[in-house]
């Protein structure tokens, strides 16, 4: 059993027990909602795990650490920031990718930049955003967030 499993199962058990003692029906509703959410993410999750297993088999760790590792410098950050801004990967699916990259030698700073741009900058969804905020504001928000994301990546890299 991994640490994660122990922590999450314990937390889940404690919270469920407290919730159950407070209100049985609410707890059951909560279980159902949680389970439904899990069912919704299960298939895409499996798909991404398959994808990662295949890709990691073909790309040797040396390539990943070359391009995304601690010594990749500006290049690594640029790749991470650009890919993160342009792609539209649902957040929770990107975490196994991030963990895989780190395992294969990518640096925390580069991965943090990738994750943050992925979450905060949306080039693909920009037309949709323009509908709500107008062109100027939507673009400004994305540009500001892009720089913030790079700053976050650098700072997280320093802390880790």
């Amino acid at each position: 059993m991994s640490n994660n499993a122990v922590i999450f199962i314990t937390l889940c058990a404690v919270l469920s027990l407290v919730s159950f003692l407070l209100d049985r029906e609410k707890t059951l509703v909560g279980f159902k909602r949680g389970w439904k959410m899990f069912k919704n993410v299960l298939l895409p999750f499996l798909n991404i795990l398959i994808f990662i297993s295949v890709v990691l088999y073909f790309i040797p760790p040396s390539v990943i650490s070359n391009y995304l590792g601690a010594n990749s410098g500006v290049l690594g950050f640029s790749i991470a920031a650009l890919v993160g801004s342009v792609t539209l990967i649902p957040g929770f699916i990107s975490y196994p990718i991030a963990a895989g990259l780190i395992q294969q030698g990518a640096s925390y700073a580069v991965v943090a930049t990738f994750m943050t741009t992925l979450m905060m900058v949306g080039v693909v969804t920009l037309p949709l955003e323009i509908r709500y905020f107008g062109r100027r504001v939507a673009i400004t928000r994305n540009v500001l967030n892009f720089f913030a994301a790079v700053a976050i990546g650098l700072l997280v890299g320093l802390i880790m």
Partner: protein, 192 residues
Amino acid sequence: MKGFLKKHGSYVWLTAFVILTIFSFMLGFNPGKAVFTNFTQSFIEMITFVPFLFIIVGLFDVWVPKEEIRKHIGQESGIKGIVLVVLLAMLQAGPLYGAFPVAYLLYRKGASIRNIFIYLGAFSSMKIPMLGIEIGYLGIRFSLARTLVSLPLFIGIGYLMERYLKNKHFEIRDGSQKTEVPHENYSIRMRT
């Protein structure tokens, strides 16, 4: 055929993977076996914590009065207002484009420009279900560092946007007016 693909299209990868794995084992194809070993490891890692995380999220969903918080947004200003929008954002799920309609609602309710952009920032990267998965995969240290570095920057962006848009008659539209048709080919549609 088209209907069939639409309904079962998302299972294509899984099916192909299962079939290829079976063949790899039958024929002794080593790369196939290695990929399967990789997959098994990451699958076990996932299945031992993600379902429990979602049950926790489900319980949160029933116990935390989201509507109650939403009611107070717009009335509270200053630090309290910021805390409320961040809290509301953390309780959400879904991709960022799902936050735009909520931003419109907040705008209609009188939330300040600053708080609307803080909401978007917090929504993009501090949602509880996502933090849970992040902690599981990248560790609590990474998660904490990222969140604590991000939050002040979001608040800063909120202030910047507010200054930038002052006296500019900024308004948020409900999204029904077309300026451009968005590319709505989100093949993987999720709630988290």
